[in-house]
Amino acid sequence: MVFHNRRVEACDVLVVGGGGSGALAALEAADDERLRVMLVSKGPVAMSGLTPTANGGTAGAGSEEDLFTLMVTAGRFLNDQDVAWFLTHEIKNALEKLKTLGVPVVPLRGRSVAVDSTETLRKLRAHIVLKQNIELREDVLVTRLLTSEGGVSGAAVLDRVTGEFSVVKAGAVVLATGGSTGELYPHSSNNPFGISTDASGAGAIMAFRAGAELVDMEMIQFVPLPAASRGLYIRYFPEFWNGPYRNRFGDVVEDDVSRYGAASYSPEVVQKLFAEMEKGNGPIFIDRRSRVATDTTLRIKTWELRRRLIKSLGIDPQDNRIEILLGSHFSMGGVRVNAGTETTLPGLFAAGEIMGGVHGACRLAGYSFSQMIVFGFEAGKRAAEHAGKSGTKGTLSEEQLEQEEEHLRRLMEPKSKPFSVTALKDRLKQVMERHVFVVRNKQGLTRALQEIDAVEGDLPRLQVPRFSRFNLEWARAIQFPFVVDAAKIIARSALAREESRGFHCRSDFPVEDNARWLCHTTARLNHGKIVIGSAPVVLDYIKPESSHG
């Protein structure tokens, strides 16, 4: 039915992900006119992924060294410092390069700048379309990475419009598929208005299944989310949300979050609010009606638009008391990389939120946009070099393809007791919120793993309607097993890390333990089994206060 027309295509550099990192990587790789680049995105560029939901701006107060120190201190020294150093020292160059692409970069206070995220993507897309050696494939879902001879050799892809399955051979692959927190928790800033942006983290798990190593998957940034009465939470401006946060009795829980390193994005804040809710004193509200109005004149078009939107929806804390929900925001964990974006799997590169070990145990505002630009360019450059040298495209085993086709087709077959994706996803989200959330402990994590296993056991009963053209359920069902794997790895890593550090808070191990745990947790696939281990953190420049090592 669906797969009668299997095609095999080839390129030198395959970039997966149509957000900022992917677009920049594709453009950078295509600078070498001899290379054929393909950019695959599961939605239209500038209308999919997390980049268009972002405020868009870089951190830039102080010197490069200051930025670096701030980042590593907030990250509780779990950042690989070679990567963090590269990030903070390359922002300036990357922004200059972005300007040459015609992207408006607006200076803010200090050396930080604002970059309109949707406008940026539209500009980049226009360049991509004009570029002779880039083929842009939108509404195309990568379902699996293909490997041969110990390296990455391409990907299996599904065209969501036609339902056609095909194979892309590549000399090098850049994964720029984003983070994994959007589909894991009931509330997430990744899903404006509660509508999924499909931030499934599938890319990281595909890399993992192909043999790449993941790090620090337990490190997830949780944040307070403004929820209107209708349960619509949207992104906001952290600086307008400093507090006071009050419980349902009106008592102040947190007066002013600006005293914490990452302000309202700090682990201290979310952990405090969580504890208050656990005591039964929720819901929590933010209320700034009595405060002197913050100067809200915003020079950036979309920022001003967002501010007005927040006002018109009645969720400006200067006008109303706003209820807060706690939800996920960012994955600090991800695919293990070095400063050159190389993963542990030859030929595979990673850029953007999918990278692990960059922000350590806490990400600061503005640093992910910087990460997107700096490593987007870097991954494109490195992948191009690799593809230029490697030349060979490897071979794809017929068996790998048959398996994949069979797997996709099976989702449409009738089952005796079928489950919808939503039913299983809701179950998984409940488990994650109950046991793998702001505060964790051994008992809860063990319970979570049992329940995640039960969800995994029900995966063969996933059933989607039988048609191939833009089938939403099918695309979700294809991605959901990756989400289950991510949940499992996160819970396993959280169980392994017997200490509290940044956003990883263990009630049974409440202290940061540099003697034992100043290291990454790692996850690797070994003969079909998830193996959790540890690896040293790169501490080239500064060391934590207590270790003087």
Partner: protein, 110 residues
Amino acid sequence: MADAVTLRIFRYDPDRDREPWYQEYRVPIEDDTSVLVLLNRIQVEMDETLSFRSYCCGLQMCGSCVMKMDGKKRYACLTLLKPGQKVTLEPASFPSAHVKDLVIIPHHLP
């Protein structure tokens, strides 16, 4: 008490349908609700075969959810329906750039 909105939605899968048709869905709501939120609810709870671009940038900015509502192009994300209201939803473009139901290829718009 909960009241309902009625959405009359353009349906057409060129692989299977000879011509476009319309399907009506009644969705109970208590408060003003965004069309994009309603479409998600319909697709998840009432009809898994409905196709639309469910993506939301949260800013009425990206244009992914633009569709015709009673003949006029609007953003589904921030168009709120009141209990009791009825609206006809059609793709922003048809037949050119059309994929299925409310889905179009936005960058192929004439």
